[in-house]
Symmetry: C2
Subunit: 384 residues, 2 copies
Amino acid sequence: MNEETDAGDLELRLARAYLLGVAEPPAAALAELIAACGPVTAANRVREGDVSGAVAEETAARRDRVVTAGDLAAAAENGARLIIPEDDEWPAWPLLSLSVAAGRGVAGMTAPLALWASGGGRLNHVVERAVTMVGARAATGYGDHIAADWAYSLAAEGVTVFSGAAYGIDAAAHRGALAAEGATVAVLGCALDAGYPAGHDALLNRIADRGLVLSEYPPGTPPARHRFLVRNRLLSALSAATAVVEADVRSGARNTANTAAMLGKVVLAVPGPITSRTSAGCHEMIRAQRATLVTSADEVLEAVGALGVDLAREKPRPERPTDGLTGQAMKVHEALQARKGKSVEQVAVESGVPASKVRALLPALEMEGFSERCESGWRRARSA
Amino acid sequence: MNEETDAGDLELRLARAYLLGVAEPPAAALAELIAACGPVTAANRVREGDVSGAVAEETAARRDRVVTAGDLAAAAENGARLIIPEDDEWPAWPLLSLSVAAGRGVAGMTAPLALWASGGGRLNHVVERAVTMVGARAATGYGDHIAADWAYSLAAEGVTVFSGAAYGIDAAAHRGALAAEGATVAVLGCALDAGYPAGHDALLNRIADRGLVLSEYPPGTPPARHRFLVRNRLLSALSAATAVVEADVRSGARNTANTAAMLGKVVLAVPGPITSRTSAGCHEMIRAQRATLVTSADEVLEAVGALGVDLAREKPRPERPTDGLTGQAMKVHEALQARKGKSVEQVAVESGVPASKVRALLPALEMEGFSERCESGWRRARSA
């Protein structure tokens, strides 16, 4: 990730905690600075104002903020810890979908600089087989029932249910997973200690008991509308599929689903009565072929098994360079030749992996050092 | 159609009535014989047993049957008439989809040899803007409501609602169209005088008042399971789109929809609660992308306006050869060149008409004498 691998753990963690709080996520310019010079140097340069105009713009308002070891200790007292990209449990593989999208120039897709977490789950484990379930806050009994019932079934099958801890569908999904004594993860649009949504303290505590509560926002950050939209990219990125249970035509759930589609993830939507406003968003997505209609938890599992899990599964450190590639990534890599480049379409035909997936996987493989672009298309990287 | 254009009207009509009753539809070999030598000669040859083995097999059991002018008069007393391909009101253009499918070797798609009709509607008029609405006999209140409501709206917009006069969705669709004082057409799987379904006599009379009741089966033919499946191809072919309102996973409505898809027609399905068995068939079709999800009568109109009506509209006798081509057929024809052939894909790109549609239209245009195949693909026919 950077040249500061010999920096002390506390130093790295303090630098990341500072950087996470100094700019409102997603901070694209700051992320580039960190990638270029490492978090400790980046933090020092931000503090001293020794940064480009773009980084200065992102960080000027809060650069005098101070994060001490005492702050981390105080957070720990509250059951919160900071997970940083340098940690083993960092979900590098699922988050790669964000870096790839950001690299394609999609605004707002910068990967998180670190994540505040509360709960006993290990982040790299809970993302291994994960589905995001989202939907309307003003859900109907129909939607609540489906969310809870499917989350129960998915959790019982060892799938982690991600959601946003909001009223309605989100809460029903978390509760269903908890009822199965399965893993569930809430990703918030405010600090872990913001006490939001009101009345969900007990639910969030139970989620932390069986999984994780995550946030990009440092202690004390209140909820805000834009933070929920920024949060949605994490719900999309950290799971293999996003299922929308009920949604109005305009809704946050649809934003999460559209982001998931852009990240190359599976998008699912549940139909309902055409007379129900909270199914109208789902129907519109299905009509526009932006989501696949699903009518059971089994169909969700099937969709994830077919497309998503291979990508979501954590990539173990390979013994041979390509040993860590699983499923579709492996098939795509095998379709590449050492010298002659192939087009995305050729690779799709030869690997049997859909072209849309190939298009997402090739840059991901490039970032991992397995593939490279050449004049005639894509080939195996020389180093691999 | 054949060389017997100078045959008398009664002679033609008696021959067609005989031929329609002498073989169980669809009678592919008999249809070929008629196409080759005309209905009067074909009828004589069948009566005398002077036919190929295939035709003999289709006609042996009933070839001694006699149809007289008295039979036609008796039918007329009951309000029934025989519409034959030689009549102006014969819906040649929509039925061409059957001939094209049969020409591609799809079994069971032979166009009807004639149609028994009761009612004041003119068949070529009622098919101009037509949608078929079908669904479960054991419909729910939800499905009944949608069928009646949408049929009302479609009929009020001048669209003829085709259905099968069965209990449940079919009846609700006919009633909705009647409530709007619009046109509606029932196509039966038994004779017009079979009194089936029991209790629908009054409904069938009202349908005849405002449109037509149609059947391939001569007076006295009882309903039978296979006749409903055979009838379904007419529901599919005579309208621009087939909308399935509610359907079990296995159902006649899905058979009609699948036939419509095969004929290149628009297929629509209405979603419903995933907890409802009668929506399961609709959901499965949408999931498999064999049907487009629709949530309102407006969306049905939109789908028909976009794809179907141009094909369904009756082709007037052209003054210039291509004057009768409408909409997509015209666009496809314009994309063709006089000498150099083009591939289906080229024609699709240049005409803006979807390739699947181009693939169906080119053979249809060929049969009409507007296009022809050549070594490099498709070009304008020399005669046109």
